[in-house]
């Protein structure tokens, strides 16, 4: 029983890590309807920026501030240079453009920062807290805390600030948003800049977990089932999706996987997502598609 709980809690915490990456997707999709496959490359770029600045002697708060500035600038630049010209393009073309963008970012990151592997220390160890009945690592708890704070901040942003309400309006109906005079370009820039900062947070947490190297961009593959289960445009959905994916994949790996030789974690979340979609074709919390003929 204790083992089951351990696996479950471990899965939930892993799910929170996936949610961190997925949040960036949601921000961009909510604002501009684009599925940003380059988010993984942005996570990598952000982590490399921070790590390189730290290794060159910058103290933690300064490195963090500088990285935030860099990612904001990057997000805004991407929106201006890549997305603005592609405003009315088909979703497939947009998706592939972000794929091309991922290539550019990866090449750029390796060009500037090199290809060495780096360790990332946030000052919080991954060692388990032994006083609890079930061992949970401090880093996991910290990540959960940061995720909660980030989600709360985004929630506040969307509900109270003008930009946030504007983004919700754009997600609802872009044409109507323009009609009432919202500055679409500015809102998109904010969304992309925000996604850049979220990528930095995800990059720092994941980097502390696995180190900073090229494969860090692969974390995006787990974000996709999270988004599909939770819906592409709902923050609450993404959290739910993350927890569901994390818990179920770990439980499946341990209890089902041991009978078939293991390794089912790669495809299980996707099969789960298919199952969810068959029941609810637009995701748990996504908007219902209304089709007019």
């Amino acid at each position: 029983m204790a083992f089951l709980l351990e696996v479950l809690i471990g899965g939930l915490l892993a799910g929170i890590m996936y949610t961190m990456v997925a949040l960036g997707f949601v921000l961009i999709y909510k604002a501009s309807g684009v599925f940003n496959f380059a988010q993984g490359a942005m996570v990598l770029f952000a982590a490399l920026t921070f790590v390189t600045l730290s290794e060159h002697g910058l103290a933690f708060p300064w490195a963090l501030a500088a990285s935030v500035a860099v990612m904001l600038a990057l997000g805004v630049t991407i929106e201006r240079v890549v997305l603005r010209p592609l405003v009315n393009a088909a979703p497939m073309a947009l998706f592939l453009a972000t794929l091309g963008l991922a290539f550019v970012l990866e090449g750029f990151a390796q060009l500037i920062y090199g290809t060495q592997v780096h360790g990332l220390e946030l000052g919080i160890s991954d060692a388990p807290i032994r006083s609890l009945p079930i061992e949970v690592s401090k880093l996991d708890l910290f990540a959960a805390g940061v995720a909660a704070a980030l989600v709360a901040a985004l929630g506040v942003l969307f509900q109270t600030t003008r930009a946030g309400v504007g983004l919700r309006a754009v997600a609802d109906d872009p044409v109507a948003a323009v009609a009432v005079g919202l500055d679409l370009q500015r809102l998109w820039a904010i969304a992309w800049g925000g996604a850049g900062v979220v990528a930095l947070v995800a990059g720092l947490l994941w980097g502390a977990r696995v180190g900073v190297q090229f494969s860090l961009s692969l974390v995006v593959l787990k974000a996709l089932p999270v988004l599909i289960i939770g819906g592409f445009s709902s923050i609450g959905g993404v959290i739910a999706g993350g927890l569901i994916v994390g818990a179920s994949e770990k439980l499946a790996e341990v209890y089902v996987g041991s009978h078939v030789g293991g390794g089912i974690e790669t495809w299980f979340p996707y099969v789960l997502a298919v199952g969810f979609l068959i029941a609810r074709p637009t995701g748990l919390f996504g908007e219902r598609l209304v089709e007019r003929v």
Partner: protein, 467 residues
């Protein structure tokens, strides 16, 4: 840009692509950092065409770039050393060019096809792709083209049997020898192989054919020595290993053998620390033994043990020579000089030593001139590096004694064990041998099956030896 200009641009572009496709391949130009006929010899005596060429299917970009840049950096630096210090191999300069594969199989194949004709008349000696996938894809081609394929420390295990694979050389260590040596070491640590009975060993492996390769041997050894072995898979890429290590925690093995690759390694060590498994009972295999594998794990990696056939360090005589002749002259290949002497770099040095030795041995038979792949293959098969030769090469302790033959393309099969102390890998053992006689029949079974499938006639090594 107006639409017509864009159309024109792409039409010209398309024409350029076609032109690229049609260009003849015999005069392939070098890509990137390879120097052609470098060194201090006066131009008048270096005749065009008195060079031996090594095409390098390197990877300096992508997920495995850290390892690739180290390996090819070391290899190139060693060849520079031979050129600068010795004037080449008996006067024949070494030349090379790089072709980026990004560790992708078909790019490795394309690079091979593009460069196999030689460089400016210099014939190809051998290829060293450092990639299992590329090796598999080029085995048939290289056998038909008669160009040796060197897969140091990896590759098809059954290519050890040179009677079926005349042109493939898994020099110094094949996957079966790896695991056998590790089990022998575990036996040593337990006080003798007979003390292994009743112990639990878990093998945490990368979810790929490479990771699975040694399963049958692990089970064979478990039956022989009486320990239980459990195989646990980490799906690629291995950024999340929570469930695997929870299973390990429940299993509570005495030892863990780590068959990792890339990011899986540091994550394994960190997750081990998280669940409280003692890191000095984790033994990493040959692809989990580099600085790049432990640095991201931070303090969780201190005490981790791994095997190596190429211990890190700059105190070996050959590395001091590289320092003196190549690095001080500013001709070093590594962009970060701190990486000289690390694991992958030293693997490159060892690889360079072996490739150059093969050329040297072949020249003794065929003459001091640029050699064909077939001749260099003879050289590889007659490599006999003993302790005395190791001292001459300045690689005692860095490279193991290696003797290849027609039927044995591995030659070594011994490893040293190193332990990470937070800043470097310290050597904690001498050469530990694998149980090669036990493994040979299994290898031959696999190679004979392959020969039958492909219709290959098995070579008669004794017959050839008499020629």
């Amino acid at each position: 840009m107006s639409r017509s200009r864009v159309s024109t641009f792409f039409s010209v572009f398309g024409a350029a692509l076609l032109a690229t496709a049609c260009r003849s391949r015999t005069d392939a130009s070098p890509v990137g950092g390879g120097t052609v006929a470098a060194g201090g010899a006066s131009p008048a005596t270096v005749a065009a065409g008195n060079e031996q060429y090594f095409p390098l299917q390197s990877y300096r970009v992508g997920p495995y770039a850290a390892g690739g840049s180290g390996f090819f950096g070391g290899f190139i630096d060693y060849m520079q050393l031979v050129n600068i210090r010795d004037g080449g191999v008996n006067g024949v300069k070494l030349t090379w060019s790089e072709c980026e594969t990004e560790y992708v199989v078909e790019r490795g194949v394309e690079c091979y096809e593009r460069l196999k004709g030689g460089l400016n008349g210099a014939p190809v000696a051998a290829t060293n792709p450092l990639s299992v996938g590329i090796a598999y894809a080029t085995i048939d081609r290289q056998t038909a083209d008669k160009i040796p394929l060197i897969t140091i420390n990896h590759g098809r295990t059954d290519s050890t049997d040179g009677r079926v694979f005349p042109y493939v050389f898994p020099i110094s260590l094949n996957p079966y020898s790896e695991i056998s040596a590790i089990v022998n070491y575990i036996g040593q640590r337990e006080g003798g192989l007979d003390h292994l009975g009743g112990k639990k060993v878990a093998v945490l492996y990368h979810g790929s054919p490479y990771g699975k390769e040694t399963q049958p041997i692990a089970e064979l050894l478990a039956r022989k020595y009486g320990f239980t072995v459990t195989h646990i898979e980490v799906p690629h890429p291995g950024t999340e290993q929570e469930s695997q290590w929870l299973q390990i925690k429940r299993l509570a093995p005495n030892w863990i053998i780590l068959r990792g690759w890339g990011i899986m390694n540091p994550v394994a060590l960190k997750t081990a620390a998280k669940i409280g498994f003692p890191v000095d009972h984790i033994i990493g295999n040959i692809w989990s033994n580099s600085e790049e594998d432990v640095i991201p794990a931070g303090p969780a990696a201190i005490g981790y043990v791994a095997i190596t056939t190429h211990p890190s360090g700059r105190d070996f005589p050959v590395l001091k020579e590289v320092d003196k002749y190549v690095l001080s002259a500013g001709k070093g290949n590594m962009s970060d000089p701190k990486r000289v002497g690390t694991g992958y770099y030293n693997l490159g040095i060892n690889n360079g030593i072996l490739n150059v030795e093969a050329v040297r041995v072949a020249q003794a038979k065929y003459g001091n001139k640029p050699l064909t792949g077939e001749q260099v293959r003879w050289g590889f098969e007659h490599i006999n590096i003993d302790e005395k030769r190791l001292n001459e090469l300045g690689a005692a302790g860095l490279l193991q004694p290696i003797k290849l033959s027609c039927s044995d393309h591995e030659g070594g099969g011994a490893v040293r064990f190193v332990q990470w102390d937070g800043t470097q890998f310290k050597r904690i053992s001498d050469w530990v041998k694998a149980d090669r006689p036990l493994l040979r029949p299994i290898i031959e079974e696999s190679s004979t099956k392959y020969a039958k499938e492909k219709g290959i006639t098995v070579r008669d090594c004794d017959g050839e030896a008499q020629l």
